[in-house]
Amino acid sequence: MAYEPQYYPGATSVAENRRKHMSGKVEKLRDISDEDLTLILGHRAPGSDYPSTHPPLAEMGEPEDSVRELVEPTPGAKAGDRVRYVQFVDSMYNAPSTPYFRSYAAAINFRGVDPGTLSGRQVVEARERDMEELAKFQIETEMTCPALAGLRGATVHGHSLRLPEDGVMFDMLERVRKEGDNIIMHKDQVGRPIDKKVNLGKPMSEEEAAKRTTIYRVDNVAFRDDDEVIEWVQRVFDQRTIYGFKPEN
């Protein structure tokens, strides 16, 4: 029987969502066009070619190498794209994802990515078109709620603050705003105004966010409610401690 990765223990909705994010089997909730994505990432003008940092690999005459033969380069590497980043921030108030699970999702389901996990933000560096593929996946699926998570290249402050009255995570650069029922992004991820307003879709309701979140919270699903998770977290902690302890050194 083929092995199926289990990804994460636990029986609660949060554990189930964590498994979904890690396996990449997430529901697609919205559409964002390539042009809009390029605009909000702010790395190049929409419609322009990908600037390259080296000629396409096929033209470079690579040395003979068994590993190069074994590993198919990603489309971005093949074309010689620049390395560019996308950075997400997730609110602590029941945002669907968290930096750790975005990193798991990136590292498990995408090739040629370099996820960086920080307390409040998560950055992925990759060849430009590979990075765009990942960014599009994360923005379009249930991993992102446009109100509770956002693209923020700089000044990520806001993830740990209370939500403002309208429920859109505080952003001192005000890159997104609520217009009617929709969340509009009118600046790129570092805060430069962009030519058109990008509609990121409807925000999740409080109930939906609570259902889709990967965050254990006492006011939603508490970490202590999930016995299997506790058991495994403690086991990992125990064994790391035991195997890290080497008295003979």
Binding site: A154, R162, E165, F170, M172, L173, E174, G191
Partner: protein
Amino acid sequence: MVNSSDTNCVQLEIFPSRLLKPETAQKLLNAIADINGVTRLFIHGPRLPDTVPYGPAKGEPVHHPGKTVIEVAGQAMELAVYVGGIRMEVIDVDVKEQVREVCENILPVSFEFREGQFIPTKQTVTDYAKRGPGADPLMLGMTDPKGKLKHNPVCILKPDFLDE
């Protein structure tokens, strides 16, 4: 003149569960300003910059809708922060209850309302360097610690009240 050395004075903090829109904040502050017996008050929250402070867009204007001019008791003032909490000193417990009632009527979200020590009682070395030895103790802790005093950071809403 009333000050914090009077034993009946209590300090309060209003801590809403959501950051307040400028309109809600204005409504709440006006209602609080109508209560007699509020000696000092300041607004607390995340700062709103005029320009992008760092990153590739450094220097771009932000135009945050939270950074707006509100009018409290007839005086216009520009919000420098998104209102997250209000801390104040009132002359006695009766006033505290009036403030609580105002919050219950106006705030659209749940809030924490607590009594404690929120305003400094002693000046720091920085305060001393900024204000000198003859500084008014009432102004202590009332200004933005990172701000400049020349920008007149404190608003006196009812000057007559100080002379009582």
